[in-house]
Symmetry: C2
Subunit: 354 residues, 2 copies
Amino acid sequence: MTEAPTTAPEPYGSADPAAGTAGEVLAGYLAAQAGAFLRALPQAVGEAGSRPGALPASAAAAADLLRAVRRVGGALHTFEPAFEPAWAAEARTELRWLLDLLGQEPAYQRRADRLLAALDSLSDTAGDGPGILAGHTGAPKARALLERQLTLARTRAHSGLLQELRSARLHALADRMTLLAGEVPLEPRAARQSAEVLRPQAATALAALAEGTERLPLARLAAPYGGDGLHRLATVPPARGPVLDAEAALTAADAPWHRLRVLVKRARYALEVCGAPLDGLDGLDRVLHRHQEAADAALTAAAAARTPRITPATAYVLGVVHADQRLEVEAARYAFGHQWPNLQHHGWHAWATA
Amino acid sequence: MTEAPTTAPEPYGSADPAAGTAGEVLAGYLAAQAGAFLRALPQAVGEAGSRPGALPASAAAAADLLRAVRRVGGALHTFEPAFEPAWAAEARTELRWLLDLLGQEPAYQRRADRLLAALDSLSDTAGDGPGILAGHTGAPKARALLERQLTLARTRAHSGLLQELRSARLHALADRMTLLAGEVPLEPRAARQSAEVLRPQAATALAALAEGTERLPLARLAAPYGGDGLHRLATVPPARGPVLDAEAALTAADAPWHRLRVLVKRARYALEVCGAPLDGLDGLDRVLHRHQEAADAALTAAAAARTPRITPATAYVLGVVHADQRLEVEAARYAFGHQWPNLQHHGWHAWATA
């Protein structure tokens, strides 16, 4: 299974998604995703039994698995009224569990890649130019510390995954997906035309996304270097009383952005189901992915700096790395602030408001 | 004396600067600057005898003094062929000495203001939103350390200034400026028309500025968040062999930018002498001033982090502050990259190439 193309293969209204009933469209989409899930599962599970840091083949299988899980979960959420409620709620809970479980190890791997690459770039002594940590004595120490801590976290995630992959819970979920590949528990309204049932739900997903962006300071973000990722983090009024913990403050300030990423994914999968044009949404998804990864990496650097008995030089380097990742957060917000207004002119906006 | 207006009061060719001889124009300009120098000197010197951290009145006098010193020095450099060579070379040496001497104390003051404001903003717990150091235990310690070190540096600069202000050297320079207010030692060619003598020299100053910008990666800087201030610092090929000292590498990488600031000032003062339009050059001057201040502040934060026996928390905060100031450096470069190409359409470019 390959990643979804940036535009739907067929414009809405000319092909299957618009022609059939809502049930036919949903069953077709979910069967395809469940099939992808079932094809990827053995390889992802089999390889997961090997050493941490999976081979490319199994990493690709795990990515395929995650992709299918996200799409099935997204469809069950957005088109909820079309499904048998108890079944859909249970399925979504199980899919979220697997998503968390599968996502941890690659996330730690990506975080290590990101932080070590940032550190190497900041302490680079040649090439396109030296970084601000060039030759700093703390750089190798900080690198070793980050690598050690992230390897440990990844190993733990791997062990946790191994246990769960042999669990009855995963087998039950696999059975559930096998069922989904053949038959989807639908409500009677799913027998109506897809345009009548699916389109309003997809429009709701898009409206939720638009609403999510309204809480963000997009006007301020239009100018670069506003310090949004380092200073002035909160996009919502701070909680009553002074914020005394930078990490909690950061988490609260970043939350609307992380939430937005979920809304973008949901909107994207909803349009995919409907065969509507997706242009731009995958770009937003990438930008918000980068935002999340940089925000998580910044927290990891900050946490590493609290390791007992590190030298001041190590801590100093981690401070630079932390700020550098927050700069990435700011850059991602700036990119979002420029991409989002342009999207309003795109096909899906017209489609949703038609 | 007020700061020079953004555009010259009279367009070139309609008023004195173009009508008289080069000698008349230069003598008029230098007499006005020497007069400003002599008016500001007693107040700047008198107040400098008081405690460090001068009063606003004396700070204004010192600023007036610096402004006149820069303009006289700039005119002597740019229009060098019009002056008696030995006299001009000696005068420039003495003006540079005074510029360094007077500039130190206010520079330390500005650096303290900048770094403490950055730290306060980064550790802000409320208002427009918390910073990434909100509630961090190292923030008050790092603040106290920076304040202590910069107060010490400022006090030393103040003591040095006090000694020199009573020196025979300053009295000789004051005498020189008194002479300049009445009579300027000119070469015979200064008797020619100003357009014939001054304009080619001003055009040379502008060409030097244009040449200085050609060594910078302006195309790369056109996109924000390129990491130019933190990663990839060098705009010139690094010295042979690996760069092992971040500070030396930084200094080398920032040097073309600091040099550019000198070239902007020279071009600005040269156009001022000629009564040509200045539009945009004062904006470039401000941007490059911000660049220099942030680069110097970053070095100060890095140096403070090398203080023996500081805690890891303090060092960590200084690392964040260092990176934050380098982000300012990057933001200034981005701003320059956007302002410079626009300047080509401005009046002075047409004037210089007419």
